[in-house]
């Protein structure tokens, strides 16, 4: 009787252990399909374009969708920043010291419509 009791206890413990191990090893469906650690998310950045000595500096910027471009007029005369050539987007007039922020949605050229020879380019990576 004693032996039967011992066998029952051992069996119970083994069975419990097997069940426990099984629960721990059960694959988590959600993690395998969509682990947050594995998805690469772009953290929006801010890049600066200075308007200085009648140029956009740098004249070509590489950004990703969601990034913000900050234009600063470091010159002495007024400028603006306007999509070229159709003027689909534009900044207000920027006096010396003024700052304007823009989140590009498409790659393309822009210019200063006051000083039409001043040009810049946005590349979306």
């Amino acid at each position: 009787m004693k032996r039967v009791k011992q066998l029952a206890i051992v069996s119970f413990v083994v069975l419990g252990g097997v069940l426990l191990a099984g629960c721990q090893n059960k694959p988590k469906q959600v993690d395998q399909v969509q682990s947050p650690e594995k998805v690469q998310r772009h953290i929006p950045q801010t890049d600066t374009v200075r308007i200085v000595r009648m140029k956009f500096v740098p004249d070509t910027v590489r950004v990703q969708l969601g990034d913000t471009l900050v234009f600063i007029n470091n010159g002495i005369v007024m400028h603006n920043v306007v999509q070229y050539p159709d003027q689909k987007w534009k900044s207000p007039l920027l006096h010396s010291g003024d700052v304007w922020k823009y989140v590009p949605e498409k790659k393309g050229r822009y210019f200063c419509s006051i000083h039409k020879v001043m040009r810049g380019y946005i590349i979306i990576e």
Partner: protein, 179 residues
């Protein structure tokens, strides 16, 4: 193009000859900071006046846009020059160079006022190309090297790329007119 080159060369020759004639040893005359300030203000005022004639006479939107830019930018440079000389307690001093610029400007204004329509537009923009070219050479080769005061020198160095951009803009405008 040959006529434009001749216009530019003659304007430059006038400016540089006047600068050189003041010294019997035929070197570029030494201009004081007060004289340099006078030349800078006069040169900018002349272009503002040319632009005002353009706004009075031209119906071409591209020419009018260009003229408005000239007025805004050159008035800004004048304002900064006046603020600087006020701060430095310097009175701009009239001199042979500034007088020659004014004398030439009277002739040019007479020429511009005698023209109408597209003849005026082309004459105005051609003169802008010639004038900016001559002033850029004078600023880079005479005024900046001779300026003693660091702030005056810095202001002229800041003005130089503005003048260069105006020159490029004038050439672009001229090309558009001649199409």
């Amino acid at each position: 193009m040959t006529k434009l080159k001749t216009m530019m060369q003659s304007t430059l020759v006038v400016v540089l000859m006047v600068m050189m004639s003041a010294n019997v040893q035929a070197q570029a005359p030494e201009l004081s900071d007060a004289e340099i300030a006078s030349v800078a203000v006069v040169a900018n005022k002349i272009d503002v006046n040319y632009a005002k004639i353009a706004l009075k006479k031209s119906n071409n939107s591209v020419v009018r846009e260009f003229a408005n830019t000239m007025i805004k930018d050159h008035n800004k440079i004048i304002q900064l020059a006046v603020d600087l000389v006020t701060e430095l307690h310097v009175t701009p001093k009239d001199n042979a160079v500034s007088q020659s610029l004014k004398k030439q400007a009277v002739k040019t204004e007479k020429m511009l006022n005698s023209k109408t329509g597209s003849d005026f537009d082309e004459a105005y923009v051609k003169n802008e190309v010639a004038y900016h070219g001559a002033v850029i050479n004078a600023v880079k080769n005479v005024l900046i090297p001779q300026a003693d005061n660091a702030q005056l020198k810095a202001l002229l160095q800041t003005a130089a790329p503005i003048l260069s951009t105006h020159l490029s803009h004038a050439k672009m405008t001229l090309k558009a007119l001649q199409k």
